[in-house]
């Protein structure tokens, strides 16, 4: 979410990693956008009230209205001195977007490829990419050295394979696999 975005305001660096008022207002604007999306979607939901007195579009409208109000109030708070009682979440004042991209790529690729690659290989890929990101965040060198890569891939396999076998062999739950044997 945009709450995690880097603070561009140098004055905000004093406040640890609490986002600057600009990004706080952006979160409020995002909430207003969600409310607008809810309202737009609610237009298409039938409103026939049955014996209950309210139809299926009642709660979406309530959510849209309250979220819209909350969004406006959040923007107001952000513009009048920032969020009240904002606790410092800790960590560095500036976000490291490179590592974030590696971890996100791991998650998205896993979601996109798990049906084709199967659970074990998909999760290993996700693990290897996420570890690359975390190594970069940590400032480690030699991240793509064959030895480090091999350790990552083997660790990923060692974590995902037993979990896969536990589900397919012991609990008889179907998970996507590269083959139909339930072993890979």
């Amino acid at each position: 979410m945009s709450e995690l975005a880097p603070s561009s305001d140098p004055a905000a660096a004093d406040a640890g990693s609490v986002p600057s008022p600009f990004w706080q207002a952006a979160v409020g604007a995002a909430v207003v956008l969600v409310a607008a999306g809810m309202a737009f979607g609610a237009l298409k939901i039938p409103g026939d009230a049955g014996y209950g007195g309210v139809g299926p579009n009642f709660l979406p409208w309530v959510c849209a209205a309250v979220l819209g109000l909350c969004g406006v109030l959040l923007i107001r708070e952000a513009l009048t001195g920032g969020y009240r009682q904002a606790a410092d979440p800790g960590g560095a004042p500036r976000a490291a977007l490179g590592p974030f991209a590696w971890v996100t790529a791991g998650l998205l690729l896993n979601a996109a490829l798990i049906v084709e690659l199967g659970f074990i290989l998909g999760c290993t890929l996700c693990y290897a990419l996420a570890v690359q990101g975390l190594r970069r965040a940590n400032g480690q060198t030699g991240r793509l050295a064959p030895r480090a890569l091999a350790v990552d891939v083997l660790t990923g396999l060692a974590i995902s394979a037993p979990v896969f076998w536990l589900f397919t062999q012991f609990l008889a739950i179907n998970l996507p696999g590269l083959t139909d044997t339930g072993w890979l």
Partner: protein, 270 residues
């Protein structure tokens, strides 16, 4: 007195060594399965149902009770150690227990969860046996207005208890309600916010939200902000609970025991 006799007879049956062994096996198996996210107590019991054909009826009921309670407890382990709750019930455990684990008190957190589970589970079972008939009579009198008021109470407590800002609490609450709107309306069957995708008709599973919010968000935050932070090992100082831990835990167990038995309905917003 009839109920009391029946309860005692039940305990007498359960306390035989073979049945206690079944309970132990069930608890161990249930805990192992309950640790997996997405596999709650009900699913664990359903998956292991075929075993009833091999075991005598009383033993299998005890076995299932063990699995059920084991799975209920199993969720707390991943919540405390990995900040990854497996189901709704262990989300609060993740909030508090993971903080304890991070300050080196994982042992105490796991212990208080286990003992609390045992105390509340045992007392609640006895209470339910004794009062179930009268509570059932009362429960059927609760209608939609009462359920509505219960929901309102839940919402106000959620926004008041969680966090310091009630505005952000309310925002989070209604973002959650908005997510809950996705899927088929339970009363009319109308599809809401599915965008024509069949998969979304079932709604967004709570496990997805919990794992996304707790586990995935944690990793992303670590990659974004905590890479340069000096790592420190959160040394597990001791496994046993101190006198202070006991003193602080007992009231919480008792509260949980009191709140638990009425069995708040797990209804979704509709």
């Amino acid at each position: 007195m009839e109920i009391f006799d029946a309860l005692m007879a039940g305990f007498a049956t359960a306390i035989s060594p073979a049945n206690l062994l079944w309970a132990l096996v069930g608890c161990a198996l249930g805990t192992a399965v309950g640790v997996l996210p997405g596999i709650g107590p009900a699913v664990a019991v359903a998956m292991l149902l075929p075993i009833t054909s091999k075991v005598d009826m009383t033993a299998s009921m005890i076995f299932f009770a063990g699995i059920y309670y084991g799975a209920m407890y199993g969720g707390s382990t991943t919540s405390i150690l990995l900040n990854t709750p497996g189901e709704t019930a262990s989300m609060v455990t993740a909030m508090e227990g993971n903080k304890m684990a991070k300050s080196g008190r994982a042992g105490a957190a796991l212990a208080t969860a286990a003992i609390g589970s045992f105390v509340a589970g045992t007392v609640a079972t006895v209470v339910v046996t004794l009062f179930a008939p009268s509570v059932a009579e009362f429960a059927v009198k609760l209608g939609p207005p009462e359920y509505f008021m219960l929901m309102v109470l839940a919402f106000t407590t959620v926004s008041a208890v969680l966090g310091q800002s009630s505005l952000r609490g309310m925002t989070a609450l209604f973002v959650g309600l908005a997510l809950g709107c996705v899927g088929m309306d339970q009363i009319s069957g109308a599809a809401r916010y599915t965008g024509g995708k069949m998969e979304l008709l079932d709604g967004i599973d709570i496990v997805l939200v919990a794992v996304g919010l707790f586990a995935v968000a944690e990793v992303l935050y670590a990659a974004l902000y905590e890479g340069k932070v000096e790592e420190s090992q959160n040394k597990l100082t001791r496994v046993y609970m101190t006198a202070r831990d006991w003193k602080r835990s007992v009231p919480a167990w008792l509260r949980g025991t009191l709140i638990g038995p009425p069995g708040a309905p797990r209804s979704r917003p509709s």
